[in-house]
Structure formats: C-alpha cells, structure tokens
Symmetry: C2
C-alpha cells in the first residue's frame, strides 16, 4: 500500500487524541494538521496557542494525561508569583513548563518570525511525527458576544466563565486580513484523505474554516472528507461544545452537527460521517438523506481505541471514494 | 532628632546588604536608592534588572540568603525547559519566581511604562521601605571589550566568563541619550547624607556616575558624601571587583579606590571614607592627604554588623559636616 497523505483540521484535546490514534494507523510523517489558532491569546506578554500546543504536547509525549492540556509533571510557581504581583488575569492556569514554550514563541514572533515557522521550531524539540501548521500566520482571536452585549475573548468565556453565560455570537476577530498559513491550502489540495476529528464544530473546526480561502480549498479538494462526531448520545464527548452549538442555533446531536457541516454533494463539506454506536438511528437517517454514515465506538479511552476510530474513518473514506 | 534623608548609589549584593543595615538605623522611608541598571539585559524576551531586583528582594525579604541574589526557595523549571528547546543563553540562571518579576516588568515596558514607574509597581508588592529609583529610564547596558577585541555584554563577561578574560575597556552603551530618572537629581540635591556603599566602584557606582547629569549633581550636592570601601585587605569583599579595577588601571586596595573616587575638596566626590580595621594604615595615609577616613569593621556578617557600618558612615558624615 502506498503511503497515504492525510490532512486533519484540528482543535485541542479531542483532535489531539484522535491524531495520536491516526498516527498509529498511518505512521509518522503522513499527516498534516491544520491547527486552530482562534483560541490564541496574549497574557502576561506571552503569546499562547492552546490548540497548537495541545497537539504538539500530545503527539510529542509531553501532555498531562490527567488534564489533557498542558504539561505532565507541571508546576505553577510563576503563576503564583504573578498573582502575588496582582497581575491579571488570575484565572488562566499557566504552568512553568508551559511558560518556556510561550517564551520561545513570543520572542520569535516579536523578532518577526511567522507563527508557522515558530511552530516548526517548537516541533523540532517535540517531534510530533506530523506536520503541524497553524491555520494562519496572522494574529486572530475568537471573540464571544454575551447576552448583555459584552464582547469577551473566547478564553475568558471558556475558562473564566466556563461558558456559563449564553453566547449570542461567536466570531473570529481579525479574519478579514488573515490568509491560510503556508502549506495549508496545498495540504488540502494534495491530501488523499481529509479528516475532521471530533473537535469542536464551532470554535475549532468552524474557526479554521472561517479563515478566507480554507473552506473553498476544502470544498474543492479531490480527497474524500470524513468527519467524526464530537457529540455522542446528545452530549459533547468533552468540553462545552453544546454551549457553542447553541450560539449558532445547532442542536447538540451527532445528526445536527452532520447537517451543519452538510454533505458535499449538497453544498456542504462532508463525504462521510462517523457517529457513535448509540447514535445508530441518526446514522440510518443520514444515510437515507445521502450522507454515507457509519456507527462505530467513538470513545477515545486509549490510543488503541483512537486508532480503531481513525481506521474506521480511513475505511469510510476508501468506501466513499470507490 | 529630625528624620534624616539619605541617598545611596547602589549596585547589587553589597549595596543591598548595606542598605538593610542602613534601614535599621534610619528607619523606613528615609532612604532613596539610585540603582545601577548597567547590568540590565534582555534574555528570552525578558528584561532583567539584576541590581534593582537584588535591592528589592533583599529589602523586601525575598532574597536567597545563600546566594545573595535571586529568590529564596527558587526553582528552575522554566530554565530547564528553555534548555530543552536549545534556547540561548544557557549560562544565565533564571529562576521561576524571578521570572514572574521579569514578566511583569517586560510587559509594562513594552506598554511604554518607564522603568522608574515599573520599579515602583514591583516595589508595591515588596515594600522595601526605601524609594528605589533606576539611575535612568533609558535602556543602557554595560559592555566589556576583551583583550582579543571582542565586545560582550557585562553579564556575559561576569556570569559566563567569570571575569576570567581580562577586560580592556568597560563602558556604558547608550549613555549618550540617557538622562537621570525622575527623582534621581532631586534626591541628591535634597539629601542630608549621601552614601556610596561597598558596591563595585567600576560597574556599579562608576556606571551610575557615568550617566550624564548624575556625577555633577553629586559633586554639587550640599550633603556630605561618605563612601564605604568594597576592598578589605587588598581583596574584594565579594564578586570580582579586582577584575573591574584592573580594567581601569586602579589597584585593588581600599586606598586606591578612595583615590580613584577622590576627595571632594580636591575635585573628587568624597567627603569621607570608611575602610576596614585591617586597612588602618591606609586610613592614616588618606587622612594625612586630606580625606577624612575611619577604620571600622566592614564585614557584613549579619544585619547588625551592616547596621553598625551604616551608623559609622552616618557618624563620619556628621563629623565632616561640622
């Protein structure tokens, strides 16, 4: 079998865990990851890229197994000291090991190195076995408009408010002047398979697709595009995807997310869709409506489970291609 | 006795320990410190002010008692991580607690806040009980020219090379456009006593005096200026002051440093000079040559010893004034 080139549009924890399984299946250096940078934020003068780092640490063996984000064996000395200086914000959990990553990145960005090159520099240490690309080199930030009209950075809504205040609108600030980072459009054009892992459909995959040029490149790509539902039995696998889906008027169900993405044949982006076994009925309905859908176990308990999911995605891609 | 206003021109460890004793004698809020910023350096995108921080931590109760610089109970997680990223330089010992200070300072400086205001903000946490002023708000850096012609930052010579390669020239880069920070000239003008503590005569006190406007303000001030020898029995109390003195052609002795500063009556800056008891003979010679000099114990074993030294400096100032 010839080496398969897979391009994955990924957010943080869910995307990273899926990628760990996919890498088991297709091997190292076969995957290009288009990472969400809408969550990026500048705090304490440090440029922080949560989703890129989660992918990098997870695939590089440095992730906290318990939290799913940040570094294993992390300490929080700097954070405590910043609090002693009354530095705001105090609600963001910045670990000491993690800070080194942000220091390297912030220094390089200030020197004018593009984020894509900075990310490659960081990955030279972590050797994630995938090509990790930011969706764009331009600084963009997802903002959330709350019911009372306040506009807050996504991180404030997500981390400080735990997405507890309903969002009226979620949008990517700065996207007008953003272009896909070098390699992003090419990776979609040249892929054998494109996978949308169980990342947040709104603030991860939706954000990547909102960068001018990326959605058209996906729609026009020759490879089958297979998505994996982040919703199982009406609830998000993790995180607060339901709060994001509510903000864009989409029900929290595997079927509704599939219809939100849409079948490519009907103007959407999907050629295939994986749902969990508990959503078998939804799968049948979607198949009837023209979207090839399979129901397989979608809980990523461990790398083996993630690898089986990834294999199912590749199998579905092969099936829809033929 | 009316409250005495003391202005002290200080470097790092020696100056800070003297100040701790002086504060015992004159009380809180009676001292203005003009701190050396020639040692300042930018590393990993962080602006580091070693001497200001040593004074702040020492008087604020956060200093490492063993090292004399940096924070007590320090950890070095970020530094290890930076090394894992192969970030240069690896020879600078940047602690985690310390990094929080540099993060706050660097962020504020980038926002355009002057270093003097940044230092006041940091001191709001540490409450050192003195008014700590940087000698200048402009970024200046002490550089060292080595025998082979190389020009290196003072920190590289001092920390990485341990001042092991002879210095041909030591100079403050950027001083042409530097002005005394707000309050510096006024603190000399309004002082009842000015003290030069046992700081390095070249790269600490000499550097402060090289900022345009500071030496004239010292020479013209109405208060007695008393210096404390950093050399005891022909050797520096600590650090490598001998290497710095050699670079400017001054012998490493209490007498030679006094003659380098010079008596104010003879065009210099000193009205009085303290040497250690072992340098009694030098004291006699200096007195004969017109510089009031006393020999007292100068080892700062503890706060009490430093306080006795400070009291001796104030006593000498009172004697030369009358």
């Amino acid at each position: 079998m010839a080496a398969v080139r897979v391009t994955v549009i990924a957010g943080g924890i869910g995307g990273a865990r899926f990628l760990r399984g996919l890498r088991e299946v297709v091997g190292r250096d076969a995957i290009t990851v288009i990472g969400n940078t809408g969550d990026d934020v500048t705090m304490f003068g440090l440029r922080i890229c949560p989703d890129l780092d989660t992918v990098m640490y997870t695939l590089g063996g440095g992730i906290s197994a318990e939290r799913g984000w940040g570094r294993e064996g992390e300490s929080f000395v700097v954070k405590e000291e910043l609090a002693a200086y009354a530095e705001e914000p105090m609600w963001f959990g910045l670990g000491d090991r993690d800070i080194a990553t942000h220091l390297v990145r912030s220094r390089l960005l200030r020197e004018g190195v593009p984020l894509s090159a900075v990310t490659a520099r960081l990955c030279a240490r972590w050797r994630p076995g995938v090509r990790l690309l930011p969706m764009t080199d331009e600084p963009v930030e997802t903002h959330v408009r709350l019911v009372d009209g306040r506009d807050v950075h996504f991180q404030e809504w997500w981390v400080r408010l735990h997405a507890g205040e309903p969002a009226v609108e979620i949008s990517l600030q700065g996207k007008e002047s953003a272009r896909p980072a070098p390699g992003v459009v090419e990776s979609l054009r040249d892929a054998d398979v494109v996978v949308l892992p169980p990342s947040n459909p709104v603030v991860s995959i939706g954000t990547v697709l909102s960068v001018p040029g990326i959605r058209p490149a996906l729609v026009e790509c020759g490879a089958p595009v297979v998505g994996v539902s982040p919703i199982i039995g009406g609830a998000p696998v993790r995180g607060m995807a339901d709060a994001c889906l509510a903000a864009i008027g989409v029900e929290t169900s595997a079927e509704a997310v599939a219809r939100h993405y849409g079948a490519r044949a009907q103007g959407g982006i999907l050629d295939g869709w994986l749902v969990d076994e508990v959503d078998k009925a939804a799968a049948d309905t979607l198949v009837e409506d023209g979207l090839p859908t399979r129901a397989v176990p979608l809980w990523m308990h461990d790398v083996e489970a993630s690898a089986r999911m990834a294999q199912a995605a590749l199998d579905l891609a092969a099936a829809v291609r033929s």
